[in-house]
Structures are given as C-alpha cells and as structure tokens.
Symmetry: C2
Subunit: 201 residues, 2 copies
C-alpha cells in the first residue's frame, strides 16, 4: 500500500481498531474526514474528547453524568431495585428500556466471550452484583431476569450464569421465546415454531 | 429511544453522519469508545484533530503534507505530467498506485452523483484541469485515462466525461475490460465474458 501521510495513517489505524470497521472502511473514512474540512474535524474530535466526561454506574455499569456514582435508572426511586435484569450490552438495555414495560433495574455483564467463560473484569462485575444483593437487598433479590440473545451461544451463556447466580434471587427467569410479533408462521424457522408450541399460553 | 447523556448523543450524531455508519452502529461505537477509557478517547480525538494538517493537491486533489501546494505524485519529476488518469476517489488512486505499473499523474474528480451530473465543486475541478492542460501542457495532454468503476453507472459517467474532455488530450482511453486474473470462466458473468471475447488480444 502506498504510504499515507503520518496523520492520516494514524487515524486509519485508530479507526480500524474500532469494532465493525475494517481497514478499507477506515481509509475511506479518513479521506471523508479530510474532505469535510477543519470545522467538521474539530467538531468530531471535540465530541469524542467530550466522552471523557461520561461515568459508569457503580451498580449496573450503564453510563451516566450524575454527581454520585449511579446512573439515572439506579438513582430513580420508582425503579424496583429488587428486580434485576442481566444484559450483555448497553444497547440491549436501550432496546429493553424502549419497550417502556420494565420498571426494575439492570446489570450489564458485558459481551460474554464465545468460549462461554467470563473475563476477569466480568467476574469483578459479578462480585459487585453479589455484594449489592448482599448489602442492599438482604442477600436475595426478588427476581433476576436474563436477557441474552436467543441464540445457541446466548442460551448456553445464560444457562451457565443462571445456575451460578441462582442463590442471589428468589426467582430466576429469562425472556420469553416464541413467534416474533408481526412474523408469519409459514416462514418461521423450526426452532422458533417449536418454542412457540412448547411455550404456548 | 431512551435519552442518552448529551456528550454521548453528540458523538452518536457525528458518527452517524459518516458514510457507511448507520445510527445503530454509531450508538455501539459510542459505547465502545466510552468503555475504552480516557486515554484511548484522547488518542482518537487527537488523531482526528491532526487531520487538519493535511492539505489537498492543487493539481490532482490528492492529499499531501508538502510545503507547496502539490502532492508527492505531482511533485515527483519521474512522473509523466502529460499522462493523466481521471479517478473518482482517493482510494481508487491508492489501489492503482499499488499496481506499481503507472508512472503518469492523477486527477481526482470525486464520486460522480448517481444522476450522472457533476456538482459545482466537481465542475470547478474540471476547470482547473483544463487550465493545467492549457498552462503547463500547451493545450493538450498526451493521454487521459478514465479509471471509473466497470459498472453501468461508471461506464455512463466515463463516456460523458470522455466526450467532454476529449479536446484536452491527444488520446483518451479507459481501463481494459475482461476476465479478472484468478477468475474462472465457468463462473464469470455474461457481461464480463462477452467483454473478454470482444476485447480478446
């Protein structure tokens, strides 16, 4: 590859390290940014720098900007602290919040590696969850809900964690499985259709 | 969508404006950046800000960091200024340079809109090309090579431009069309195979 000027190569390298951005897309993005001109460059640069002001909730690990260590959800007295939904990612939390049907709290465990084994920082988060349940909920939550992707991997990870965290709650559940609203029976895959039969209500 | 803290929303908006990054990916990227921590945020922010030092070549519109207005290719006396390859994008130029088989210069016209009509800034570039040919090459280049994508749209745009720019050069050509090296005849599409027959050599 023809040598790019250092400042360009640096941006390409930085962008290519981001998830879901490949090396070619990184080059295209760098050229796009240059073409945008100095004002847009400064806007993006400042915006990214501004993320340093974002804090991570010490209870659920979601983001926030509050003065104490808790996010808007954990700080909200209307949210039931005794019901905790375990999600992998912040974006899963956002999608679940969008349903406006959940009034409990969350716990972000982070994306579980494909091996199914948690990394050290994820174990630290689990230890913090256990401590929270111990200190603030008298040793047991009312319910732990596992909201993992309905895939073979997600199911596997959820079942491992459900077993491990079972002592922390009176009830352990996972999201319902069945026909997606708006879907068609004719075009549903066997697994989904089978689950909808088994879990008919 | 649940309201995100302002600094996060700002980054999401900025990223979502970039080509090939959708709004969902922008949110995921923002969370990824936050999770990376302040040092990585500063590195990326600084790298992007550093792009302001990049200049655009006044002859070919490629990027450079030289003191005068010309890029490394246009400044290089070993490159033949009388042969000019018209490309759409910087990344096309990079791919063509990688072949190490071209010793002429380039001219970046910018991605031609799907309508086939050039935008005002692209017409300005064409006027600059005509002026360059007039002032520096005595009114005619030896060859203008059109390196546009071998698609219906690219062919259409190339043929329009070839007609328009024909007076600027003794010879006007476009990249050869035929079987891609390493391809298989059995799996070639009809257009490619037909072109390879018509242009057999």
């Amino acid at each position: 590859m023809m040598k790019l000027p250092d400042p360009v190569q640096k941006v390409v390298d930085e962008l290519a390290e981001l998830p879901s951005i490949g090396p070619r897309q990184a080059v295209r993005l760098a050229f796009h940014l240059i073409a945008q001109g100095p004002k847009d460059l400064r806007d993006l640069s400042d915006a990214i720098g501004g993320l340093a002001a974002i804090k991570i909730c010490t209870h659920c690990y979601f983001i926030h900007q509050n003065d104490d260590g808790l996010c808007d959800i954990c700080i909200n007295p209307a949210r039931n602290a005794r019901i905790i939904m375990v999600v992998e990612k912040e974006t899963d939390l956002l999608s679940l919040e969008n349903t406006k049907k959940y009034t409990g709290r969350y716990f972000i465990i982070g994306q579980v590696p494909k091996t199914g084994f948690l990394e050290a920082w994820q174990k630290t988060r689990l230890a913090a969850l256990a401590k929270f349940v111990e200190d603030e909920l008298g040793g047991q939550a009312d319910e732990l809900i596992f909201a993992f992707n309905p895939t073979a991997l997600g199911d596997f990870q959820a079942s491992l964690l459900m077993k491990e965290l079972a002592p922390l709650a009176k009830k352990v559940s996972r999201l319902g499985r069945g026909l997606p609203t708006g879907g068609e029976i004719e075009f549903s895959d066997d697994e989904t259709l089978g689950a909808s039969l088994e879990r008919r209500s």
